[in-house]
């Protein structure tokens, strides 16, 4: 398996990858999808694990772009792969990939093309979309946008996993539930600490990496996770914590109430989704929900 995640890139590098692939194999493919409709936006963080699973045996590269777009370049016959990717994304985010997008992708790539053809088609498509679509303003940016640095993977190290396995059983001996607060904004951390720390022991983290380390160290009873962190998505953290600690009690605390965030939270089966601005009642109701669960 070789899926290279490009840290920082531009369209030029994207196109040169196409060329390089074309030299190595007869078939190459590229999928450039808009996974966004209206105000709904899917970020790379949520698509990453899905696409990685789907592409597990493909010698391919993933590019994460602004506007929730994903570009996947791979070597090999592309139609089957494309169908698999679209099927996975459609199933996971049914509201995000409309029929038109699918049709366009298939029409565009359902033929054998070489690197140069792809480059021309890519340009042609952009021009066509720019001229015809009401979304032209956004689409135009496909031509010159920078590809974003992808999120780090949410993973426990072996040491952290070992520590977590030791700390989870100790949770039931905690007299008061402890709370891990994860937010990159000092303001939000201070506010939540001020609200909770008189009654409950609190731990804080400002990045995904810090959150993972703190989670392994304390196995907190409750984790309040911001969604947009600088290194790892809060949803990816939630998925990780749920995977290794199914009894975890996770509450997403976010300024975003996009449908895609709610969908991701539901997928991860978290115990709460609190939208900023939050108030005392909203936060304490989640803590009370935890206490209720613990007592039953």
């Amino acid at each position: 398996m070789l899926i290279q995640i490009i840290q920082e890139n531009t369209e030029a590098a994207f196109l040169s990858t196409l060329e390089a692939y074309d030299k190595k194999a007869r078939h190459c493919g590229v999928l450039l999808c808009r996974f966004s409709l209206a105000s709904v936006r899917v970020t790379d963080h949520r698509l990453l694990p899905l696409l990685k699973d789907t592409l597990s045996d493909i010698d391919g590269q993933l590019y994460f772009c602004s506007d929730g777009d994903v570009a996947v370049v791979w070597r090999g016959r592309f139609k089957e792969i494309m169908e698999a990717i679209i099927s996975v994304v459609s199933n996971a985010f049914p509201q995000l990939l409309d029929g038109h997008a699918k049709e366009e992708i298939f029409r565009f790539y359902d033929s054998k093309v070489n690197g140069e053809d792809l480059r021309l088609l890519f340009r042609e498509r952009l021009n066509k979309v720019t001229a015809a679509s009401p979304q032209a303003k956004i689409e135009t940016q496909l031509a010159s946008r920078k590809v974003l640095a992808p999120a780090k993977e949410a993973q426990f190290s072996n040491e952290q996993l070992w520590m977590l396995h030791k700390t989870i059983p100790l949770r039931r001996f905690k007299k008061m539930p402890d709370i891990l607060i994860v937010d990159d904004q000092a303001f939000s951390l201070k506010l939540l600490m001020g609200l909770l720390e008189d009654q409950y022991p609190c731990h804080t983290a400002r990045t995904g990496a810090e959150a993972i380390a703190a989670y392994a160290e304390y196995a907190p009873c409750i984790a309040l996770l911001d969604v947009e962190l600088p290194d790892i998505s809060g949803h990816a953290l939630a998925a990780l914590f749920k995977k290794y600690d199914p009894d975890s009690f996770i509450v997403m605390v976010t300024g975003n109430n996009y449908v895609s965030d709610v969908v991701a939270a539901n997928t991860n089966k978290v115990q709460g989704f609190v939208v900023k601005p939050f108030n005392k009642q909203k936060i304490f109701s989640r803590v009370e929900a935890y206490l209720e669960r613990r007592n039953t």
Partner: protein
């Protein structure tokens, strides 16, 4: 004329702890100064994501503080991350003005 910041929710969350509130105001100033600099730097072509991300960060802080007008502007900036430069500049100016007004208000709250 209504105040640029409605502190009702904040007072409830801090139990009227003036020291904590002052500390939160300072964090707000730091976050807003930093965000506005980031927005200024990214009010250019090909910088949609840093623009969106900065607007998002200040939006959450502003809303939780009670600076709703500022929060709404940040939300507009976040949702309109793909807007043109002229539109972004206009939004940035509005954000700066709303922030200045909020800051002035907060500097006099406990005095």
């Amino acid at each position: 004329m209504t105040d640029p910041v409605d502190l009702t929710n904040l007072h409830e969350m801090t139990d009227n702890d003036k020291v904590l509130e002052e500390a939160l105001f300072q964090e707000f100033f730091i976050a807003a100064d930093e965000t506005i600099k980031t927005l200024e730097a990214n009010c250019v072509e090909d910088a949609n994501e840093p623009w969106r991300s900065a607007a998002h960060a200040l939006k959450g802080v502003a809303y939780n503080l009670g600076a709703i007008a500022l929060g709404d502007l940040c939300k507009k900036a976040q949702d309109g991350y793909a807007a043109g430069i002229a539109e972004k500049r206009e939004l940035l100016q509005a954000i700066q003005a709303a922030y200045t007004e909020s800051k002035l208000f907060l500097e006099n709250v406990h005095h």
